[in-house]
């Protein structure tokens, strides 16, 4: 059987990333958008770890852990924002929240 190469990981990561971008761009629900962002972050993590494995040093793994920590923090903050959003606008539909324009 053909062994697992770097390309496999990269393809997986690219697919995940595209899914994430797609989700962020098309969904109206803020929670789903947040999930898309998480997908993108994790696809990057896969990339990092894959490179780390194939380059034989620990830099990538270290960065991945860093990203996971950040992602956790980010998720917490983002959910808090979404909650606030809901309490202020009574919706989590992003199309209705466009005051940034002003």
């Amino acid at each position: 059987m053909e062994s697992l190469t770097l390309n496999h990981f990269l393809t997986l990561s690219a697919v995940l990333f595209s899914l994430g971008v797609f989700g962020v761009m098309t969904r109206r629900n803020a929670v789903v958008v947040l999930m898309g962002i998480e997908l993108m972050l994790n696809s990057a993590n896969i990339n990092l770890i894959a490179f780390s494995r194939y380059n034989g040093n620990m830099d990538g793994q270290m960065l991945a852990i860093f990203v996971i920590v950040l992602a956790a923090a980010e998720a917490a903050v983002a959910l808090a924002i979404i909650l606030n959003l809901y309490s202020n606008y009574n919706t989590v539909n992003l199309d209705e929240v466009d005051q940034l324009k002003e």
Binding site: V21, V24, M25, T26, V33, L94, D95, D98, Q99, L100, K101, E102
Partner: protein, 651 residues
């Protein structure tokens, strides 16, 4: 006395007035009598010390005696540094005594003259600052510190001219004085820069020896230019043509100040400075100096003829006398010029203080047409004024005759050394000025002290001034008599002064300094007796004309003025220099400034704002992309990245 003691004494003389300034400024108002006794006492002490130094030099009577000391002021880690120091030689020693004496007397005089001024303490402070700066110039052994003190003198002159700043004229005059002086100072500074860039030293002796050894690598033309630029400083400070316009206006200051600064000492600083750099001046530069001096002497004398303000007459006379000194230096009559600096300092200070006494007695009336017959009311002032006037007019038996005569003789000697021709114009102008001087001083004395009082009311209230005022007058007028300087009333060069401070030999390469010196001395000696006779004749003629017009009233002055109207107006309006400068320099400056300010606001800043506007306009277009929806932003970002990928694929 050892060298150290002398130097220390000199430093003490220098610093005493500064201390007086600081004390007066900090605590003057709180001291009893506002500290006038303190300031005057400091100056008295300084004078005693300075006199001791001068007497030491006099008793040594050695033309080459020099004590100097300097310290490193600025070292920038190179093989040169800026040294600042002081130099005691015959010239600086006697000048030191002269300046402190006059300053002391003026302090004394001011005690009465300004006793009810509400800035009495400040006034004495300023006098101290001035004296300090002036002594600094006198003692400096280098161009750099000389320039520094030079500007400080300008500052104290500014402060004192504008002392009564609530008068608009006084404030304007002080600004004018400083700015006009600055023009000269720029020239002087450029001159210093030329020498600095050649020798990397500011010490005068080192510069002189550098030039003598041919280390001046530029052409002689540059040296001439440097000399003329240095001379520009003196043109400003000593009020020579074309920068003479500030001095008459400076008479807005208190009269004792006029005596100290604008007659006896500060304005003489220019002459002193040229005397200090005399040996490095090229013959061409000296010719320029002689021409400027002679022209100024004549021009200012004509301006003095028709003035009515007692102080202004004296002011123009000062300009004219300074012209003599400058001319004397220009023609190489070094010691005569310096000699005139001294004699003039004493008799002109006496005249100014005398006029101050008259003004004081007349309750601040300065117009000589309002005076008359005052000799009965002010006997002491009258006698001293008469002595000083005789000295200024150049009557034999008085000090002014000795020095002025020596300068004119030097002028004749120089003219024939240069080969006659138009060079004789220089001493001729000097002689003409002597006649005019005698006339306007005669006019003044006759109008002020003789005849009938023209303003009976003021005359009745006039009375002799108090002792603190007349004592300085007496001292100064005694110092205007011939025995002080020379026992021979007809020859100044046999006196102690001109022997103590002999003429100097030029160090300029290409000039045989010794031969030039000897030649000038020889020819000057030849010219001596003709000069004596001609100048006495000139003086007597001038006095006689004044006597005829103003005492005998054989000729009516007004009619004479009317018949010579263009000439009269020319003189009365000071050759229209103020008007000329107003139209050209002052207006020009204002216009240039307004244009710059306008250009800045409406062109440069306009361009800046236009740029801002254009950017803003594009911003308005691009604004459409800002929908406020985060997702569309992300979409733009993704599209952007994809575009880059596509581009990368294509390229």
């Amino acid at each position: 006395m050892t060298q150290e003691t002398l130097i220390q004494a000199a430093i003490a003389v220098l610093l005493l007035p500064l201390v007086s300034y600081l004390v007066q400024l900090a605590a003057g108002r709180r001291l009893p009598r506002q500290g006038d006794w303190l300031a005057t006492g400091f100056l008295g002490l300084a004078f005693v010390l300075a006199l001791t130094i001068a007497l030491y030099f006099l008793s040594a009577f050695d033309q080459t005696l020099v004590y100097s000391a300097n310290f490193q002021w600025l070292n920038l880690g190179k093989d040169w540094s800026i040294q600042i120091g002081l130099k005691l030689d015959n010239l600086s020693a006697v000048t030191l005594a002269m300046v402190t004496l006059i300053s002391f007397l003026v302090h004394l005089f001011s005690i009465a003259y300004l006793h009810d001024d509400d800035r009495y303490a400040t006034y004495f402070g300023y006098l101290g600052l001035f004296t300090f700066s002036m002594l600094g110039i006198v003692l400096s052994d280098n161009l750099f510190s000389m320039y520094m003190f030079w500007e400080l003198v300008g500052l104290s002159s500014y402060l004192l001219i504008g002392f009564w700043f609530h008068k608009k004229e006084a404030a304007a005059a002080s600004t004018k004085a400083f700015v006009t002086n600055r023009i000269g100072d720029i020239g002087m500074w450029l001159g210093i820069l030329i020498l600095w860039s050649q020798f990397y030293t500011v010490n005068l002796d080192e510069i002189a020896s550098g030039i003598q050894n041919g280390q001046f690598t530029l052409s002689t033309g540059w040296l001439t230019l440097g000399g003329i630029l240095l001379f520009m400083g003196a043109v400003g400070k000593s009020a020579q043509f074309p920068l003479h316009v500030w001095l008459p206006d400076a008479m807005e200051g208190p009269t004792p100040v006029s005596a100290l600064i604008h007659a006896a000492t500060m304005v003489a600083a220019g002459v002193y400075f040229i005397a200090r750099v005399f040996i490095i001046l090229t013959p061409d530069a000296l010719t320029v100096i002689a021409v400027v001096g002679a022209f100024t002497a004549f021009m200012a004398a004509t301006m003095a003829l028709t003035q009515n303000d007692i102080k202004r007459i004296l002011a123009y006379s000062t300009v004219s006398q300074l012209g003599y000194m400058i001319m004397g230096l220009g023609v190489g009559a070094y010691s005569a010029a310096v000699f005139h600096l001294f004699t003039h300092a004493f008799f002109k200070a006496a005249l100014f203080l005398g006029s101050g006494a008259v003004i004081y007695a007349m309750h601040h009336e300065q117009d000589i047409r309002e005076m008359g017959g005052l000799r009965k009311k002010l006997p002491v002032t009258f006698v001293t004024y008469l002595i000083a006037t005789s000295a200024l007019a150049g009557l034999p038996l008085f000090s002014g005759f000795l020095s002025k005569d020596a300068i004119i003789a030097g002028g004749w000697g120089w003219a024939s050394f240069q080969g006659g021709g138009w060079y004789t114009l220089i001493p001729s102008l000097g002689l003409a000025a002597a006649l005019l001087t005698a006339f306007y001083m005669g006019r003044q004395v006759f109008l002020v002290f003789f005849g009938e009082p023209r303003n009976q009311d003021k005359f009745d209230h006039a009375h002799e001034v108090p002792a603190v005022m007349w004592i300085p007058l007496v001292v100064l007028s005694v110092l205007s008599l011939f025995p002080v300087f020379s026992l021979n009333p007809l020859a100044g060069d046999s006196g102690w002064f001109m022997n103590l401070i002999p003429s100097l030999q030029s160090v300029v390469p290409g000039v045989d300094g010794a031969a030039r010196l000897a030649g000038l001395a020889e020819l000057t000696h030849h010219a001596h007796w003709t000069t004596v006779v001609s100048s006495i004749l000139m003086t007597l003629t001038g006095l006689a004309i004044a006597f005829v017009i103003y005492m005998k009233k054989a000729v009516d002055a007004d009619k004479l003025a009317a018949s010579l109207r263009p000439l009269y107006l020319m003189s009365f309006n000071k050759w229209y220099f103020d008007e000329l400068y107003e139209v050209t320099v002052v207006r020009g400056n204002i216009v240039l400034a307004k244009v710059s300010a306008f250009f800045d606001t409406f062109v440069i800043d306009f361009l800046v704002n236009v740029t801002g506007f254009i950017v803003g306009f594009f911003g308005l277009l691009v604004r459409k992309f800002q929908t406020g929806k985060v997702q569309s932003y992300i979409a733009f970002a993704v599209i952007g990245i994809l575009v880059f990928f596509v581009l990368k694929g294509i390229l």
